[in-house]
């Protein structure tokens, strides 16, 4: 299943400046693991040493904000787009 993933600006240089990258998977977790396998440099930024999604990463999907703790199992449909961003802080 093809999913389009939009990267945050800070991670785009890892992919040669590309704004989006194609991935496969039926959940956000599966998509991230697919990207990690194909692009290990990108995978460093998604997962902690323990294998959890970094807790400050936030995903936008279908108009909803998905926190890291809920993202592994969050279901996706073919053709979906997922935006990767980070939790905002400050003021």
């Amino acid at each position: 299943m093809s999913i389009r993933v939009q990267l945050p600006p800070i991670l785009r240089p890892v992919m040669g400046g590309e704004r989006t990258v194609a991935a496969t998977g039926s959940s956000i977790g599966a998509v991230l693991l697919d990207l990690k396998q194909r692009y290990p440099a990108l995978g460093l930024h998604f997962f902690t040493e323990g294998g959890a999604i970094r807790h400050n990463i936030v995903f936008l999907h279908d108009g909803a904000m998905i926190r890291a703790k809920d993202a592994m199992a969050h279901r996706l449909k073919p053709g979906d787009e997922v935006v990767i961003t980070n939790a905002l802080a400050g003021g």
Binding site: P8, I10, P13, E49, H55, A87
Partner: protein, 375 residues
């Protein structure tokens, strides 16, 4: 001879290059990444460490200082490694989901990179030591350091429990030193299998620590070819060792001494650097840990030529300056050039061992690291 500076800031790195040390070309790279350390290997490749509270730690490399590529590996603890949540600087207080309460250990910053004997070394927080023997393609933890007895008594400094200094002996690959705030300096003589505290003669900064550790070492410098003569900028003053750190004596003649927050009288500062040709050593004192800016606002680098006393060098440096120079922000290019960056984003340079200074760059973010390379 041309010079290149890698200036690390919380928002990227300024790459400053000059052929005459007067006019400088500047490019701001790795935008958005906090850049904490850099090093150059024996083939001229530059490695830069970045970290993000959101996206973790990584390394970028470049052969020309223009094109940067992220390495596919970085220092990481094993999933089963156990740490102390209180040791983490950034993550612990933002641990909304309780990940750290289980005691997992994470690398949240690379504090220093070091190249010696064909290997690339990284000092990290939570305090640990990693090595790459394939130029960053893979990293291995040094278990003898990372799991050493007594570690449970270590306490973090204000910036976290960071392994910020790595030194090596050019004549003895089995001997290395690692400095940690605020656990002190440690040395191995068997290639990293075992480590011993090397803090005798230095007052601990952590009251609860054993006498052998708990020293808040800020930086250490030496000549790798004369490795046993060492100079140490401590929270509690500058010290010298002539026996590889087995013992230390206070060396503060000429330095501004002040009263620290705990009543101790000594000099205070963060970085230190040595010009290997001359043997001159440089520090940048601040007016104690209460104020943390140059005494009287006079930005000054202090130099020792004889290894006994210090002299201030102020020619060209501002006299109304209330900033600081952080631990990684002073570097010698080993061709007579000396460079440092301030916490308010100005870089100063000297091409005559500190006798005179020029502004090299300004308007940068807070400067966390400076590495200078003559080419």
């Amino acid at each position: 001879m041309s010079v290149a500076l890698i200036v690390g800031t919380p928002k990227g790195a300024a790459v400053l290059q000059s052929k005459d040390q007067r006019s400088w070309e500047s490019e701001f790279v790795l935008r958005g990444w906090p850049v904490t350390a850099s090093v150059r290997d024996d083939k001229g490749r530059t490695y830069v460490a970045v970290n993000s509270p959101n996206f973790g730690v990584a390394l970028f490399t470049s052969d020309n200082l223009k094109d940067w590529k992220q390495l596919e590996s970085a220092p990481r603890y094993r999933p089963g490694d156990r740490g102390n949540p209180e040791h983490h600087r950034l993550i612990a207080k933002e641990d909304f989901t309780g990940l750290l309460k289980s005691g997992g250990r994470f690398v949240d910053q690379i504090w220093t990179l070091h190249f010696a004997h064909g290997a690339l070394w990284a000092g990290v927080s939570e305090a640990g030591l990693f090595v790459s023997r394939d130029r960053g393609q893979s990293w291995q933890p040094i278990d003898g350091f990372n799991e050493q007895p007594g570690r449970e008594s270590w306490a973090p400094g204000f910036g976290g429990l960071g392994a910020h200094t790595i030194l090596s002996d050019a004549k003895n690959p089995n001997r290395m030193w690692v400095g940690i705030s605020a656990a002190g300096l440690f040395r191995t003589d068997d290639g990293g299998k075992t480590w011993s505290p090397k803090n005798k003669g230095v007052n601990p900064a952590v009251d609860s620590a054993p006498a052998t550790t708990g020293q808040c070492v800020h930086s250490v410098t030496h000549d790798p070819n004369n490795a046993s003569v060492m100079f140490r900028q401590e929270h509690r003053g500058v010290h010298k060792s002539t026996d590889g750190g087995d013992s230390w004596t206070v060396m503060e003649d000429g330095l501004p001494v002040t009263e620290l927050s705990d009543g101790h009288h000594c000099s205070f500062g963060f970085p230190s650097a040595m010009d290997l040709k001359s043997g001159n050593v440089f520090v940048v004192p601040l007016d104690g840990d209460n104020f943390r800016f140059p005494r009287g606002g006079q930005l000054a680098v202090y130099r020792t030529k004889n290894g006994k006393s210090w002299e201030p060098l102020t020619n060209g440096l501002p006299a109304d300056c209330y900033t600081a120079v952080l631990r990684g922000a002073l570097s010698a290019d080993q061709n007579g050039g000396l460079y440092f960056g301030t916490a308010s984003g100005t870089v100063y340079g000297s091409s005559d061992l500190g006798e005179s200074w020029r502004e090299v760059a300004s308007g940068l973010p807070r400067i966390m690291s400076v590495e200078a390379y003559a080419r």
